[in-house]
Every structure is written in structure tokens, then in C-alpha cells.
């Protein structure tokens, strides 16, 4: 797949070196997908997979060498982000794979663009990404939770997800469990 030509046509696109993918900003992702599907010559008519990936903010140590042999370590903070990864193939000419990503820098309340108007196969998969990662898709006509129940508040596949400690503990002879159970009851 000729990524360079695509980058020339859409200068706002970025190449993701690590995974051989193209990162598209949310505002032009529909345009890019439409181009790939209809005009690019690749005939990417089949959206195989949609997945979300959550990257936590992390610190990276950078070592700067000075002239006198001293080593200065600098701590670089990399902000967290979320990604929606789309895997495209072509059923017409049996081509593929093409990977398109939307990178969402706002990790707390990420908003992505839905590809559902172009590809029906995104319907359930984007709902699943919303369900498990909390990424909202603008343009999706029926964005509801897919697996978890409606009253569930958290997003389980986020990397900083913590299990709610609200199980009803069976009263047993173990003191710690009893204490925990009492504490949960009194919190309610």
C-alpha cells in the first residue's frame, strides 16, 4: 500500500512508524476513509476490525551526555492518549491490509468520529469500543453500551480501571471479610 501518495494528498495525516499505520485527525477521517473506499484505487470496501487501545501517561528517561563525561538524566512526560484502530481490506481485489488510526489526546473524555455512515460493520464494533473504553463516536446513530448493562458507569478496558468493591460478601468466619462487608453496607 502506497502510504506516501496518501500522505501527499492529505498533508494532515501522520505516519505511525511503529505499526505501519496512518494516523488521521478526527476532522478529516471521514474524508480519508471515503477516499480509500471509492477513489484511491485500492477499493477498500471491507472494514474488518475496529479496536480501541488505551495508553496511559508515562515518564521516559532521557540521557543527555555532556562533554566532561557527566550524564544528565531528563525525565520526559508523555501524555496519555487513546487510539481507535481500523483495519481495512478489499474484498474486490483481495488486497489489504491498511491500518487507519484516530489518536485522541483527551484521555478523560475522548471523542472520535464514527465511520458507521460509510461502513456498517463499524456499528457494533464502535459500540463495543464505546462500552469498554468510553470513547464517544460522533455520527454514530445508536451509541449505546453493547455488553455491559446500562447502569454500569465505568469503562473496564481502560488501563486505570479499578474494580468496584461493592460485592455483597457472604458472612464468614473471617474477620477481614466481615469488616469489609460491614463497611460496604454502611457506605450504602
Amino acid at each position: 500500500m502506497d502510504i506516501d501518495a496518501l500522505l501527499k494528498r492529505f498533508p494532515a495525516l501522520q505516519r505511525d512508524e511503529k505499526s505501519d499505520a496512518v494516523i488521521a485527525p478526527c476532522d478529516i477521517v471521514m474524508e480519508v476513509a471515503e477516499f480509500l473506499k471509492k477513489d484511491s484505487g485500492y477499493e477498500l470496501d471491507y472494514l474488518s476490525n475496529v479496536s480501541g487501545v488505551d495508553y496511559l501517561p508515562k515518564e521516559e528517561k532521557e540521557e543527555l551526555k555532556k562533554e566532561e563525561g557527566e550524564v544528565e538524566t531528563k525525565i520526559k512526560e508523555i501524555p496519555g492518549y487513546m487510539e481507535v484502530v481500523y483495519h481495512f481490506y478489499s474484498m474486490k481485489n483481495k488486497g489489504g491490509l491498511f491500518v487507519l488510526k484516530q489518536r485522541l489526546m483527551d484521555r478523560e473524555s475522548p471523542v472520535a468520529m464514527s465511520l458507521m455512515p460509510l461502513y456498517r460493520s463499524a456499528e457494533f464494533q464502535e459500540r463495543e469500543v464505546y462500552d469498554l473504553f468510553g470513547i464517544k463516536f460522533t455520527g454514530h446513530p445508536d451509541l449505546r453500551r453493547l455488553f455491559m448493562w446500562e447502569e454500569f458507569e465505568d469503562f473496564p478496558l481502560r488501563k486505570d480501571y479499578k474494580e468496584p468493591d461493592d460485592y455483597e460478601y457472604e458472612p464468614t468466619a473471617h474477620d477481614t471479610v466481615l469488616e469489609k462487608s460491614e463497611a460496604n453496607k454502611s457506605n450504602k
Binding site: V99, Q125, F147
Partner: protein, 382 residues
């Protein structure tokens, strides 16, 4: 005393004609035809479906989150539980994904055995599907048990080689867990030789059956364009006439060495979807015959390092499971656990078109349409 109010369904007036009512009922999660815990809320105008909303998640156990906490080899037994009828192909899909990340070579003999196991699994799956499809049509019991009787023979082979009938856990990165036991190949050859006779008998019974034809032809017609757009794969896609089988279109393993045909449908209705499975079983038999004939001697495990630790990066790989395209998207961060482990479930994505297929048909037809798509809830809900 007031009569108890019905709570399981709602009644609305029809938008165009206030004299008529729209009835909303929940099919499932305990309806016998949903083959598991799946619910669809159907809106009915008389007997005709006007809207249908599927609900998932009754069997959700966040398999993908479990995968993030486990080292790569430890995920293998969990993949058995995805599509619990086809554990061998699930194993292969996952092994294929990790092997392509680490560039592991699989020995020749292991590749052949993999193909044999995958095609036996396809037979198991298609027999279950066909049996239950006929069961849903009203022929309760007999044809299903004919199919289950033959399936049992294959499960015996699986048990012999892996120790388990359904949760086989037989594949490893770079090969297979253990060598075939003595006598297994002959037993498999015997099954393969006898199987076409069963298929002939089964097809004689079913293919020209008046009730099957009347109830499944031109019911739930899926158009090519919608099928491609909705990402439908596997036999459901090929029943609409789209020639897309990963064994030919994007060959993995050693499928490019075998000579087999891809059956295609013409109309895309329930009958085509049923027939595709019957024809695919014959092609699987043909692949099995070739694989058993050419099965070489040699190692069954390639050279694999003891710790599986792929470099940081992403990979997406897919195989043709009996239900459709089963893909694994793995994001590695250089540790022994995957950073993100995602499964593309064919069962879930094939159901995208369920609503479109059912609208306009009778309520009784939704059961057949649903049955002809072929899902397993263990994979769908994950």
C-alpha cells in the same frame, strides 16, 4: 380483582393507523431458538416484524481484559472458550497471530496436522449448524441427532489426540502440543472415507424437502452490497455470491497447496446459507483426503524460545474459522503479557445484518434467519 398487567411486552398504537397496534416482545434470553443467552426485542405489526433490536452481553466475561493479565502462552486455553464448538480453529487463529509477530516457523508435519484439525472442526461446526437449523424449522430431534451422531465420531478423534472433546487446547506457538497417537491417522482416514455416505443420506433427506424449501427459500435475502459493507464473512457472505474465502484470498498455513473449490450461493437467502454449509463439508472432506495422503513425518514443534516476548508493536492477523473471519489484533509492549488483546468475532459482526434480514418477515421466520447466520454466544459476548 384486577387482572395482572402484562409486564413482558408493550403495546403502542401504529403511527399511520391508530386502529392497529404495534406489539413489542422480547425474544430471549431464554428462548430455545436463540441457542444461548441472546435477546432480540421485536416490534410486531400483527405477525410481521417492523423493527428488531438485538441485545448482547449476557455471557460477557471481558475475555480481552483477562488476556491483558496473562502471559502469551497462558491465553491459549482461554481461546477454546470463545467459540466452544471450534476450539481448534480458535487455537490456530491465536497461534497464527503470535507466530506472525515473532516470525516463528512451523514444521511441515505440524502444518498438515493443523489443516486436518481445522477441517475436522469445520465439519463439526457445519453439522451442528445444519442440525439445529433443521431443528428450528420444526423437524425436532431426528435430523439433529443424525448430525450429532457423526459429530460424535469427530469429537472422539479430538479426545484421542488432545484429551478433551471440546476444549482441545492442542495448538502451540510453533507447532502442536503432542504427536498424533498411534492409529489416529487410520481412524481419521476411515472417518473421512465414510463421511460422504452420511452426507449423501442427509442430503437425500433434506435438500428437496418441501417444508425446508417453502420455509427457507427467499426468506431473509441478503444483498451482496450490504453483506460487504456490513463486514459479513464466512459462509453467510459466500451465500450471497461473494467469492471471499481467506483460505484462497489470503492463504495462511499451507492452504495454497490444496486443491478445493469455494461454493457460492446465488440468492443469499436462508436456503443458500444452508446449502453452502452442505457443500463446504464436501470440500473439507476433499482437503482432508489430500492432507492425510501427503502427511509427512518429522517434528511437530519448531524452534521457539521459552519466553514468548514479542517486540513492541502491533499486528493484526486473521484466519477463516467455520463461522467467518476470526482475527486477532495484538498490541505488544515488549513484556510477556500483551498490552492489548482484541478479538474480531465473526459471530458478532455477522449479526449486524440481522435487523435488515428480519424486517418485513414473519416472526416465525426470524428464528430461521437467526439460525442460518450461525453464532455462538461464547464468542459473541466474549
Amino acid at each position: 380483582m384486577d387482572a395482572p398487567k402484562p409486564r413482558d411486552f408493550k403495546v403502542y398504537p401504529h403511527e399511520d393507523d391508530p386502529g392497529r397496534n404495534i406489539l413489542e416482545i422480547a425474544m430471549g434470553p431464554h428462548h430455545p431458538s436463540t441457542h444461548g443467552v441472546f435477546r432480540m426485542d421485536a416490534k410486531l405489526d400483527g405477525e410481521t416484524i417492523v423493527d428488531l433490536v438485538p441485545h448482547f452481553g449476557y455471557l460477557h466475561r471481558n475475555h480481552e481484559k483477562l488476556g491483558e493479565d496473562l502471559p502469551y502462552p497462558a491465553i491459549m486455553p482461554y481461546t477454546d472458550r470463545l467459540d466452544y464448538l471450534c476450539s481448534m480453529t480458535n487455537n490456530w487463529a491465536y497461534a497464527h497471530a503470535v507466530e506472525s509477530m515473532l516470525d516463528i516457523e512451523v514444521p511441515e508435519r505440524a502444518e498438515y496436522i493443523r489443516v486436518i484439525m481445522a477441517e475436522l472442526t469445520r465439519l463439526v461446526n457445519h453439522m451442528m449448524l445444519v442440525g439445529f437449523f433443521i431443528n428450528d424449522l420444526g423437524a425436532i430431534g431426528t435430523p439433529l441427532l443424525y448430525a450429532l451422531r457423526e459429530r460424535e465420531k469427530i469429537l472422539d478423534l479430538f479426545e484421542w489426540v488432545s484429551g478433551a472433546r471440546m476444549m482441545c487446547n492442542y495448538f502451540r506457538f510453533g507447532g502442536l502440543r503432542n504427536e498424533l497417537p498411534p492409529g489416529w491417522v487410520e481412524a481419521c482416514q476411515k472417518l473421512v472415507d465414510e463421511f460422504p455416505a452420511f452426507l449423501d443420506e442427509y442430503e437425500d433427506l433434506l435438500n428437496e424437502n418441501e417444508i425446508i424449501i417453502a420455509r427457507s427459500q427467499h426468506v431473509g435475502v441478503l444483498s451482496k452490497e450490504l453483506a460487504i459493507n456490513a463486514g459479513v464473512t464466512g459462509p453467510v457472505l459466500r451465500a450471497c455470491g461473494v467469492d471471499y474465502d481467506l483460505r484462497k484470498a489470503d492463504p495462511y498455513g499451507i492452504y495454497d497447496r490444496f486443491d478445493f473449490r469455494i461454493p457460492l450461493g446465488e440468492v443469499g437467502d436462508c436456503f443458500d446459507r444452508f446449502m453452502i454449509r452442505m457443500l463446504e463439508m464436501r470440500e473439507s472432506i476433499s482437503i482432508l483426503k489430500q492432507a492425510l495422503k501427503d502427511l509427512p513425518d518429522g517434528e511437530i514443534m519448531g524452534k521457539v524460545s521459552k519466553t514468548i516476548k514479542p517486540k513492541a508493536g502491533e499486528s493484526y492477523s486473521r484466519i477463516e474459522s467455520p463461522k467467518g473471519e476470526l482475527g486477532f489484533h495484538i498490541v505488544a509492549d515488549g513484556t510477556v503479557n500483551p498490552y492489548r488483546y482484541r478479538i474480531r468475532p465473526p459471530s458478532l459482526i455477522n449479526l449486524t445484518v440481522l435487523k435488515d434480514l428480519c424486517i418485513g418477515h414473519k416472526l416465525a421466520d426470524t428464528i430461521i434467519i437467526f439460525g442460518s447466520i450461525d453464532i455462538v454466544l461464547g464468542e459473541l459476548d466474549r
